[in-house]
């Protein structure tokens, strides 16, 4: 388990992370969301001791990362898939990391099989595609069979098969009772993978909540209605306390009702219906709604430039 406590990191005058506190609990996949520059990578780097916090601390199983005798057996991190010496072979890279933490050499070959890199084990890292580099980075994170996995943008550059592989992997790992933190820009992917969400913006905690609650709480689902008599339909619904907005092309968007109610009402009043569709908000919508503040801030900056 990882515990971030009042973490603040300043680069010069910029506060990349500002008094951030949250936990990465075992047994679930925690999605780490935030717009670009929100401080996600800085937070993850502070977790493994690469960045020194300006104040606050990060504890791994109650200890500072630096005080872990064989850190790779406790925390596995994928920070930047390209962080490999291009002249070193795939196997050589993993073998060195294995030595540094006194891990058995056979673990390297096992993992090369697991991540599907066995056939390129002796190729130099600079010949790898981005997707293969990601797999190598994930192999490095899994090397010490850690109880906590930190993955910064792990599906970046992966093909659909690779994306599904990462999704299944993190779910399995969390199912084994381990803690997983995964950051990604791909909201649809996060919606499929994460059980819990930690959302940050401008270095501050915006939400720390189960993924389902976040989506339902931050977005509106509505019933889309197309009919030749929108005015009558709207009055009927409004009379029942349903909020109705005008959608595109003369359609109606009814919030707080369902298809059945709409269909029954229309039948009773002999109104023809061309379409009745329930539109459920995606995590992406919820996220956009939720971080509108931060996005506005970015747009302002862009305009000022």
């Amino acid at each position: 388990m990882i515990e971030v406590r009042e973490l603040t990191k300043r680069y010069g005058k910029v506060r990349a992370v500002d008094g951030l506190s949250f936990r990465v609990e075992p047994g679930r996949v925690t999605g780490f969301l935030g717009p670009n520059g929100a401080g996600k990578s800085t937070t993850i780097r502070a977790m493994v001791g690469l960045d020194r916090p300006t104040s606050g601390e990060v504890l791994v199983d109650g200890k500072r990362y630096e005080d872990l005798p064989r850190p790779l057996t406790t925390v596995g991190a994928l920070l930047d898939a390209r962080a490999v010496h291009g002249g070193r072979s795939v196997r050589g890279h993993l073998a060195g990391l294995a030595r540094s933490n006194r891990l058995p050499a056979r673990r390297v070959d096992e993992l090369l099989e697991t991540v599907g890199l066995a056939s390129v084990a002796d190729k130099r890292a600079k010949g790898l595609s981005l997707g293969m580099s990601q797999r190598l980075g994930i192999a490095a994170a899994l090397l010490g069979d850690p109880q906590t996995l930190l993955l910064d943008e792990p599906v970046n550059g992966l093909d659909p098969e690779g994306v599904k592989w990462v999704r299944d992997l993190v779910k399995r790992v969390a199912g084994e009772g381990r803690a997983v933190l995964i950051s990604s820009h791909l909201m649809s992917e996060m919606a499929l993978t994460a059980d819990h969400l930690v959302v940050i913006g401008r270095g501050r905690l915006l939400a720390d909540t189960p993924a389902h609650d976040f989506i339902t709480g931050n977005s509106r689902s509505y019933v889309l209605i197309r009919t030749p008599e929108p005015e009558r339909m709207r009055d009927l619904l409004a009379a029942r306390g349903v909020q109705v907005d005008h959608g595109p092309d003369g359609s109606l968007e009814a919030v707080g009702t369902d298809q059945k109610t709409v269909g029954t009402l229309a039948a009773e009043s002999r109104i023809a219906l061309y379409e009745v569709t329930t539109t459920t908000a995606s995590l992406e919508d919820a996220f956009m709604q939720f971080t509108a503040d931060s996005v506005e801030y970015r747009a302002e900056q862009g305009a000022a430039r």
Binding site: L50, D51, R82, A83, N101, R102
Partner: protein, 253 residues
């Protein structure tokens, strides 16, 4: 201690598995040997008919290749440190070995040992090759001042490599580090030594001071001798290693 052992193992595997680092060490030995043979042959021809002047130092002449070959050691030392930063490997390295002191000690120890071993090979083989091809003017291993010069030469090249590693840890960039060290070692300090007034101070530059170890008898006009020169280089090395450590400790990776 076991964590240092593991970290040294890690560093050693990094050296072995990157070709450029292995090649820089091979280059060091190859340059030293090739020029030792050439120098020996030139000396033999030069002094075939007339005896060499009393100022001629066969030990120093035999090390002319080593003076060039040590480029390889400097390149090795700089790459061992800066390639971590240029490739971003430093992040996976420090995630694996998060205690910066252990990481740094392991890197310097590994680099220093590799440089020392390669220096031994380069110094001894180039000495014997040069003396074997030098003919009449050659000296043997047991002659006065020779063993000391050989030991001094190994210490000189090893310390110079460690000095370069310390500077590299401070600067983090191979271009910047090489851009400063190469001219310093191979032109600037030689020029400064020959400028009147500055010359005396220039003797205290790391390569100039340490380089006095390459002579059988210290040349005239120097304030330092072989051992005090090495002591000056050792002080430079300690300062560079200290500065490099502080930089690693204080800065984010």
């Amino acid at each position: 201690m076991s964590s240092l052992n593991a970290a040294v193992d890690f560093e050693w595997s990094k050296v072995r598995t990157v070709r450029s680092m292995v090649w820089s060490l091979v280059l060091c030995v190859a340059l030293s040997l090739a020029l030792a043979v050439v120098t020996g042959a030139v000396v033999r021809r030069q002094y075939a008919d007339e005896p060499a002047p009393s100022s001629f130092d066969p030990v120093s002449a035999g090390f002319s290749g080593l003076r060039l070959g040590m480029i390889g050691l400097v390149v090795f030392g700089v790459l061992a440190v800066t390639s971590e930063y240029s490739t971003g490997t430093i992040r996976s390295s420090l995630a694996a070995v998060p205690r910066r002191g252990v990481f740094y000690a392991a890197k310097m120890l590994t680099g220093g040992l590799a440089a020392g071993a390669v220096s031994c090979v380069a110094v001894l083989t180039s000495f014997f090759l040069a003396q074997a091809t030098m003919g009449e003017e050659s000296v043997s291993l047991t002659d006065d001042g020779v063993p000391a010069a050989l030991v001094g030469a190994v210490l000189f090249t090893t310390l110079l490599c460690l000095f370069s590693m310390g500077v590299a840890a401070l600067l983090r960039s191979s271009v910047l580090t090489m851009g400063i060290l190469m001219p310093l070692f191979f032109t600037v300090s030689t020029i400064l030594t020959n400028v009147p007034g500055v010359g005396r101070a220039a003797q205290f530059l790391p390569d100039q001071a340490g380089g006095l170890a390459l002579y059988r008898h210290a040349p005239d006009g120097y304030v330092l001798n072989a051992w005090s020169g090495l002591a000056v280089l050792a002080a430079w090395t300690a300062a560079a290693l200290g500065a490099g450590y502080l930089a690693l400790r204080r800065r984010d990776a």
